[in-house]
């Protein structure tokens, strides 16, 4: 694997034991006797929220999808390039994810479970394939496997449903939530792999402690996946040096928080709300040593612009324009007003949240690093990083 995975309290417990079913079953009983109310109650007691980035309450989604001919979809595609937690789960704890999916299928009274694998990491598909073979037909569920295209938006819910339907793996407009009408018009419970893993863990071992998987990149050269207890302190994730620098929280669709902001806060939604941030997909990117938030944002927005599906005018045209406007500022020739204007123009005007997420990132840069931006507009940089001028 391209990432280091650290031992954790629940999902990443006992990593010395392999991913095989025999080890897993010693610690987690096979799913049985599951009803909608029991599973929803367990999810509610744990306040389980989706781990794909949006943080939607899982119990609500479960209840909404609890109608005839529902379908369960496990999203392992991990479109966010800085995130590796789904890859870690797929490789090391596949049965936890699969157990969660089976529990959900039982609760919904369906046998249809779809797994969406990451196109860029075939090793996950191999491991999942092996796990499915180990389980055989014991789950009384019909597994269907799909492989997502490489790319940021391939993991978006509607894009996944398009893939499952045999069409290009790109977003389309959702007139109703997929839990109401999704795959072939059927109620579709589509959630992130970690959400299902958490569900299985909660059912087997109760709601406490509530944990979350974090992917962090930093001064070590490989990204790391670790499991943190929600409500804990940030020094479990970041070194003191990193805490004293700006941090990008949530992923490329997350937001910046200013230097030192996390030092006295906990890993909890409430603490971050005041900063305009959420835990998102659990990606934590401290600003690399010697780099500059303006420069980093330019790089990320340029990447995000290139990842547009190209289906929606405001995104297809607006994101590259936004990237150019930011690049102009980075090189000292740009206008903050244009950046604000473009960020406001693209929000909410696409089939998916790709433009919204990009705009949020840019707005957070403008919010916290006004000084940095002003320096760049004078062709200086507080971190000594200057893009080539002109």
């Amino acid at each position: 694997m391209s990432v280091l995975v650290e031992e954790g309290p629940r999902l990443l417990a006992h990593l010395d034991e392999g991913p095989q079913l025999v080890h897993h079953r010693r610690r987690h009983p096979a799913p049985a006797d599951m009803t909608l109310d029991r599973l929803a109650a367990a999810a509610e007691a744990a306040d389980l929220r989706g781990r794909g980035g949006a943080g939607f309450p899982f119990a609500t989604k479960l209840r909404t999808a609890a109608r005839r001919r529902a379908v369960v979809v496990v999203n392992l595609s991990e479109g966010e390039p800085a995130s590796h937690k789904d890859e870690a789960l797929g490789q090391l704890r596949p049965h936890l994810v699969l157990d969660g999916a089976v529990l959900a299928a039982m609760a919904l009274g369906t046998r249809q479970v779809h797994l969406v694998l990451p196109g860029e990491t075939p090793a996950v598909g191999e491991r999942i394939g092996a796990a499915l073979a180990e389980r055989g037909s014991s789950d009384r569920v019909s597994w269907q496997v799909h492989t997502a295209a490489a790319g940021f938006v391939s993991g978006q819910a509607r894009a996944v449903i398009e893939l499952m339907s045999g069409r290009p793996n790109l977003p389309v407009t959702a007139w109703v939530p997929e839990a109401v009408s999704g795959y072939r018009g059927r109620p579709t419970l589509l959630s992130n792999a970690e959400t299902f893993a958490q569900l299985a863990s909660i059912w087997a071992h109760g709601p406490d402690p509530a944990t979350m998987l974090i992917t962090r990149a930093g001064d070590t050269d490989r990204p790391r996946v670790l499991e943190v207890v929600l409500g804990g302190r940030w020094d479990a994730v970041l070194s003191p040096a990193e805490l004293a620098r700006p941090v990008l929280l949530g992923g490329y669709h997350g937001v910046w928080v200013p230097a030192g902001a996390l030092a006295n806060r906990r890993i909890a939604g409430e603490d971050l709300a005041g900063l305009g941030a959420t835990l998102g997909a659990g990606v934590v990117l401290p600003l690399p040593e010697g780099s500059c938030p303006v420069h980093e944002t330019v790089r990320i927005v340029d990447y995000l612009a290139g990842q547009s599906a190209g289906r929606c005018g405001p995104c297809r045209l607006g994101l590259p324009a936004l990237a150019r406007a930011l690049d102009d500022i980075d090189r000292g020739v740009g206008s903050g007003a244009l950046v604000d204007d473009l960020a406001a123009t693209v929000r909410g005007r696409g089939a998916c949240a790709h433009p919204d997420g990009t705009a949020r990132l840019v707005v957070s840069l403008r919010r916290w690093f006004g000084d940095e931006l002003a320096l760049h507009q004078r062709q200086e940089c507080g971190h000594g990083v200057l893009a080539a001028a002109g």
Binding site: T173, C315, T345, R349, G350
Partner: protein, 64 residues
């Protein structure tokens, strides 16, 4: 009375601008010619909104 909103099916929209021609009270165009919807549809504009939905050559507008 349930409120009504105009929603754009963005993958279908090509920025032809007929919606703006038909309902300038609620629909303006951005710098690339794509519609910007300003808020919900008041009751007196509902008939006009329905005609605007029918008038889109790409059927990219819906009243929900």
């Amino acid at each position: 009375m349930a409120s009504s909103r105009l929603r754009v099916d963005w993958p279908s929209c090509e920025g032809r601008g007929l919606c703006h021609e038909l309902l300038p009270e609620l629909i303006s165009l951005d710098r690339w010619g794509f519609p910007v919807i300003a808020g919900e549809v008041p009751e007196e504009l509902l008939p006009a909104a329905r005609r605007t939905v029918a008038g889109c050559p790409r059927l990219a507008l819906r009243l929900v």
